[in-house]
């Protein structure tokens, strides 16, 4: 899931050259565009513009269509501000939980052997595969009014947290897992023979190698949590100032016909999304440098 720099050079083969000679074999220069591919590029760019670029630009344009003061007024509206605060707060909380749980799960899936591991591996993907509206319904089944556990969190802030934790569960697991799998066990053995205890080895050798993956997973999880709407629909109960999240605010503004205000809140979400993408790209580059 960390594959963001989609156009980086192919990974260099295991190099075995003598010291001094240049290490990297240069990848063959990408081809120039011929007539056919120019046409392909043109059609693609037009399609991409109509679908993605122009609409997203429209969001930013509408956000400031009423001037910066209009934009600012929307965001400082108590109800909106409280929704944004709640969203950021919950998204951060969920991300922290994911960092710990996701890393632990990935660790266990790679390093442990136990009955039912394969099932666990599949269950972790359920939140990815399940239509998110179903995710909301799923959580209501256990934590709603008919809860067999007697826990009813419907229409509370806990419901928001639960829904966000559900839909973002796989991100950290799935970014950390492959890195952990490809980690050379030799390095841990080297640390052990150099006298490092298990804990010291984990903290000083394993964890630093996982940090970029954890960060990438956390970024994805945060972005998803902050923009989540669908799984909350059945859970949130529409209580302004209490458990309304930013996406719901956008929808409310749309339903009230106030597109400029909707765009103002939406632009915040959009900017967060773009920041996350840039962040992932930076992580990817740093990793590439480490080799």
């Amino acid at each position: 899931m960390t594959q963001t720099s989609v156009v980086g050079p192919p990974s260099a083969p295991v190099e075995t050259q003598d010291p001094g000679t240049p290490r990297k074999r240069r990848a063959r220069a990408p081809g120039r565009l011929g007539a056919g591919s120019t046409l392909g590029l043109g059609v693609t760019m037009i399609w991409f513009s109509l679908l993605v670029l122009i609409p997203l630009t429209a969001v930013l344009a509408s956000a400031v269509s009423g001037g910066w003061s209009g934009f600012w007024d929307v965001l400082t509206n108590p109800q909106t501000a409280s929704a944004i605060r709640l969203t950021v707060f919950e998204a951060m909380g969920v991300t922290v939980v994911n960092v710990f749980m996701g890393t632990a799960l990935a660790w266990m899936l790679v390093r442990d052997r136990f009955f039912g591991k394969r099932v666990l591996d599949i269950v972790i993907d359920v939140p990815f595969a399940l239509p998110t509206i179903v995710a909301g319904l799923v959580l209501l089944a256990l934590y709603g009014q008919q809860s067999p556990l007697g826990i009813n969190v419907a229409n509370t802030r806990y419901a928001v947290f639960l829904a966000l934790a559900f839909v973002t569960l796989p991100f950290v697991v799935r970014t950390v897992q492959p890195v952990l799998e490809s980690l050379e066990r030799d390095t841990e053995e080297a640390a052990a023979s150099l006298g490092a205890s298990r804990l010291a080895t984990f903290r000083r050798v394993v964890l630093p190698s996982l940090v970029p993956a954890i960060a990438a997973g956390a970024a994805l999880s945060f972005a998803r949590a902050i923009s989540e709407y669908c799984s909350l629909v059945l859970l949130y109960g529409n209580l302004p100032n209490r458990n309304e999240v930013a996406s719901v605010r956008v929808l409310t503004y749309i339903e009230n016909g106030d597109k400029a205000a909707a765009a103002a809140v939406a632009s915040i979400l959009l900017v967060v999304a773009l920041v996350v993408i840039v962040l992932l790209d930076v992580i990817q580059r740093r990793l590439a440098r480490r080799g």
Binding site: L41, F48, P55, L56, L105, D112, F128, V138, R185, E188
Partner: protein
């Protein structure tokens, strides 16, 4: 030469292992496994007949049909453009390539609600940027199937590309150059050399898009107007029937969607090891 599998010295001590197992499995069980199982219990609790009867309620059949139509069209569009964009990104050099490759990922992290709003702002027929012009030519995008398809394509856009790009990079262009030197034209090179190489990644990407398209809700809700019997998709029907206290129907549709998604998931699980070999 002990293989990695046989190295026991790196296994965690038993207390650590059991602690991790109990905490994480408990977490996944309470958060995902048990609740998901309950939905199926509710859906099939009254027998398979009741399940199908619930699916016949009100406008559910129409909603399911609409979802199927939109999903198929969206997946096809994403398949074609996904292949073209991936090949352009990996094999060619052109201005704006870096920006394009970064923007491809936007739909993954942007809220579907924002996507819906963005499309409405441009294509609504009252005051959209292009909407009124399109309307004059008799094309309605928002509150109609084209808009819903666009919204679905948008949210599932990166899935095919993210599968294809690494594979295309991995296989390199040696074989394509060889084919070209043997006299194959661009189409023949693609069909006989490139396509077999990316086949599994393509299938994987399509399956992921399929699952994503089936389940899209937020973006579609905004662009569709959610008109029962006209622009209501299956996911919208789940919401509406639940809020109308037709919970049996709601659970049945949800279970059907979940099952379809699970089938996708199982296909992916079966394909995955093949891909890594």
């Amino acid at each position: 030469m002990a293989s990695n599998k046989l190295r026991n010295n790196l296994r965690d001590p038993a207390p650590v292992r059991w602690g991790l197992r109990i905490v994480t499995i408990g977490y996944v069980f309470l958060l995902v496994a048990w609740p998901t199982a309950l939905v199926f219990k509710h859906a099939f609790g009254n027998g398979i007949g009741a399940f199908f009867k619930a699916l016949q309620q009100s406008d559910v059949p129409h909603a399911l049909q609409l979802t199927a139509t939109i999903t198929i069209i969206s997946v096809l569009i994403n398949l074609v453009f996904g292949v073209i964009i991936s090949i352009l990104l990996v094999r060619f050099e052109f201005p704006g390539k870096r920006v394009l490759s970064a923007l491809i990922d936007v739909p993954l992290s942007v809220s579907p609600v924002v996507v819906g709003l963005a499309l409405v702002l441009v294509y609504n027929s009252r005051d959209g940027w292009f909407g009124p012009t399109l309307d004059q030519h008799g094309i309605q995008v928002i509150f109609a199937t084209p808009g819903m398809v666009m919204a679905t394509v948008f949210v599932a856009l990166p899935l095919v590309i993210r599968e294809l790009v690494p594979v295309l990079q991995e296989i390199g262009d040696d074989q394509e150059q060889a084919a070209r030197s043997l006299g194959a034209n661009a189409l023949q090179v693609f069909r006989r050399v490139t396509l077999p190489g990316i086949k599994w990644a393509l299938v994987y990407g399509v399956v992921l898009s399929l699952a994503r398209s089936l389940g899209e809700f937020g973006a579609v809700k905004i662009v569709s107007g959610n008109i029962t019997g006209q622009t209501q998709t299956a996911t919208l029907a789940v919401e509406q029937t639940y809020q109308n206290f037709e919970q049996n129907t709601s659970y049945a549709v949800a279970a059907l969607l979940a099952l379809s998604a699970m089938v996708c998931l199982v296909i992916v699980a079966i394909l995955r090891p093949k891909e890594s070999e």
